[in-house]
């Protein structure tokens, strides 16, 4: 059998999504029976010339990363965004809500830039991609099923209904009923509502469902007297591309 050549790459992120892959443990051993893992910088020294599937973690920030991403694209049959940083820009996009001089002075003690700073962007802003594994971090089980689908040549599919549906299924108490705003009604499911299960609320790490304002769960917000904007103002740690003012940090 011709094993698919699979590689992992990282741009700007926390490497938590790659760690989640390593954390698959026995399942990882099973996967290694059916794939040929050819590149994974955190674990291996090898570099591959050609890949069937490249998983890329992290956002594109610097010009050098754009080039690296283009090079990965050029040698890969399919390129998949691994996690929120790669799929939507993720937590890195919080930087777009602040002025560059504020960012420089709070992190480096001076307001003039020390080098050229780019805007954190999702992979798709630079190269065409063939799909995404959502989440910050990704969900290990979902990753496995996506990879299995890819190995069988299927189109990549991710859930279209919001996190609320998973909460209801697991009979978790609704955050709104406890007075806490939650991004569950607007957010793509697939994580098993892990944060709500842990006693927290959803902060929307998996990105928005396709039609957030027309779905059946949207009314949960209204029933509890919340506007989308109010919930976002409380919980927006994953600013969506649409509400980012890209020029602020682009300087």
């Amino acid at each position: 059998m011709n094993r698919k050549r699979v590689g992992f790459f990282d741009l700007t992120g926390c490497e938590g999504c790659q760690l989640t892959v390593l954390n698959l443990e026995e399942q990882l051993l099973d996967l290694l029976e059916v794939i040929d893992l050819v590149e994974f910088r955190e674990l291996m020294q090898d570099q591959a010339e050609r890949l069937d599937i490249a998983f890329v973690e992290g956002s594109v920030v610097k010009p050098a990363e754009e080039e690296r991403l283009r090079a990965i694209r050029a040698k890969s049959e399919r390129l998949i965004a691994l996690g929120a940083c790669a799929a939507t820009g993720g937590i890195n996009r919080l930087a777009t809500l602040h002025a560059p001089d504020h960012l420089w002075s709070s992190s480096f003690g001076r307001s003039e830039p020390l080098w050229e700073m780019g805007t954190p962007r999702p992979l798709a802003a630079v190269v065409p991609i063939d799909g995404e594994v959502p989440g910050c971090p990704i969900d290990g089980r979902e990753f496995v099923s996506i990879l299995q689908g890819l190995l069988m040549g299927q189109e990549l599919e991710i859930p279209t209904f919001p996190v609320c549906a998973e909460c209801k299924l697991a009979e978790l108490p609704c955050s709104f009923e406890q007075g806490a705003p939650c991004l569950g009604p607007l957010t793509r499911s697939g994580c098993g509502a892990v944060c709500i299960r842990g006693g927290d609320v959803c902060r929307g790490c998996r990105g928005e469902v396709d039609n957030p304002r027309s779905g059946p769960y949207h009314r949960i917000l209204e029933e509890h007297g919340w506007q989308v904007e109010q919930v976002l103002a409380e919980l927006r740690i994953y600013p969506h591309q649409a509400d980012g003012d890209d020029d602020a940090a682009a300087d």
Partner: protein, 425 residues
């Protein structure tokens, strides 16, 4: 001759190594951090205190629990919130999980291949899976702690300011304890394996800085101490630890009172070997690693001793938690919105966060001192000290030995770049 390794493999984050030699003489040696800064201190400003720990967690997937825990403690200090013993014990158990997780990944996946002359453990598994299987079994035990206490292995979901948002069940804790006990045979094999490694001889004396242990092995604490005898309150770190920006790195180098120093497993072991759990103390004796160790390559062994210690400590902590009827607690309300500082022993050493909050509980200012940044000055000097000793060897062997030295430090570049404020000195 120039030796250059771009995007070093098997370390956390992105860094290059550049060594310039002229006629066998060292001209310069630079560990160039090329990671893109993410301006965490800047993006934290304006966040509500409830959101801060979850955001700083994303500095680094490998140390997400340490960042979350130190962040919560700094916020609690700033808000005048006290936590219960139940919370303290659970948090320590969670930290054990992360120390184990991080150390095991480093020892097996990052360090070991150098000694076995393999590009990776995954390559090695193509002919023999014993090592990879054992590494993953051990790692699974560490992850089990993080899952049971933190809700998932990376970026915890159960933590909140003032306590826990959800608690493990008694049954889960007991299963977890059994899981940890079951790791012992694999640990023994690991100790045999590492005891037999041919670790290069090299000696570089340096002062060791860790938190004070309060009689035990250090984890959380209000004071830091150095092997030179200095004791400093964590709250007074400003002015004690200075960070300088160096031209070739997007991270900074830290110095304490003008001296380079080392933090991490060897520093903890050096300062607090008497606080080790019984089996770990025996392992330290067998591996002949303890106070006064001057060979940075042997940091691996200190990490291994800690693996044994934190498995034992995890088992002990679950025993102690058994005495508590774990019950949900109402999160205490803030008594003020002021400034707070906290420190924790993260896998790579002393990690410190300092925050200032304004009215309405929004963060005004953040500062963080990262273990790897504290180690960079020492690492670079060690590299420069090592080069002349090995310059006569084949270039491949020179790079192998230097890469081994870098990996012995287990640098965490994502962390080092993201969160330092420079104080120009």
């Amino acid at each position: 001759m120039q030796l250059r390794i771009n995007q070093l493999a098997r370390i956390e984050g992105h860094a290059d190594l550049v060594v310039d030699l002229e006629k066998g003489e060292l001209v310069s040696c630079r560990f160039e951090v090329v990671e893109t800064p993410r301006f965490f201190e800047g993006i934290l400003t304006g966040l509500h205190y409830r959101e801060v720990a979850g955001v700083v967690s994303r500095i680094c997937g490998i140390c997400s629990h340490s960042h979350s825990l130190v962040s919560l403690t700094a916020t609690e200090d700033a808000l005048g919130i006290d936590i219960s013993d139940q919370t303290r014990l659970l948090r320590e158990l969670l930290l054990c999980g992360e120390l184990l997780q991080s150390h095991l990944v480093q020892l097996y996946f990052m360090a070991l291949p150098d000694y076995l002359l393999l590009p990776s453990l995954i390559q090695a598994a193509k002919s023999d899976r014993t090592l990879l299987e054992r590494a993953l079994r051990l790692k699974k035990g560490a992850n089990a702690i993080c899952e049971v206490i933190g809700g998932r292995p990376v970026h915890p979901v159960t933590l909140r300011v003032g306590g826990f948002a959800s608690l493990p069940e008694r049954k889960e804790l007991l299963q977890l304890q059994q899981h940890l006990r079951n790791l012992l045979p694999d640990l023994e094999e690991t100790i045999d394996l590492f005891a037999g490694l041919d670790i290069p001889l090299f000696s570089r004396p340096v002062s060791n800085v860790s938190l004070q242990g309060d009689g035990g092995y250090p984890v959380f604490g209000t004071h830091m101490e150095s092997s030179d005898g200095a004791v400093l309150p964590v709250a007074g770190y400003v002015g004690q630890i200075n960070e300088r920006l160096v031209a070739h790195a997007t991270a900074k180098h830290a110095e304490m009172e003008g001296h380079r120093y080392r933090v991490g497993s060897l520093a903890r072991l050096n300062n607090h070997h008497q606080g080790l759990a019984p089996m770990a103390a025996k392992v330290a004796a067998v591996l002949r690693i303890g106070p006064g160790e001057e060979n940075p390559y042997r940091m691996l062994l200190a990490r291994l001793v800690e693996v044994v210690h934190f498995v034992e400590r995890g088992i002990q902590l679950i025993d102690r938690l058994e005495d508590y009827d774990l019950a949900p607690e109402e999160p205490p309300l803030p008594r003020r919105f002021g400034s707070g500082v906290a420190a924790v022993e993260a896998p790579r050493g002393l990690l410190l966060h300092a925050y200032r909050y304004g009215e309405e509980g929004r963060l005004l200012e953040a500062d963080c001192v990262i273990p790897t940044a504290q180690n960079l000055a020492s690492l670079e000097e060690d590299l420069a000290g090592r080069v002349p000793e090995i310059a006569h060897l084949e270039p491949d062997e020179v790079s192998r030995q230097l890469e081994m030295l870098i990996r012995a430090y287990d640098p965490c570049i994502s962390c080092a770049t993201h969160l330092l404020r420079v104080k120009y000195v």
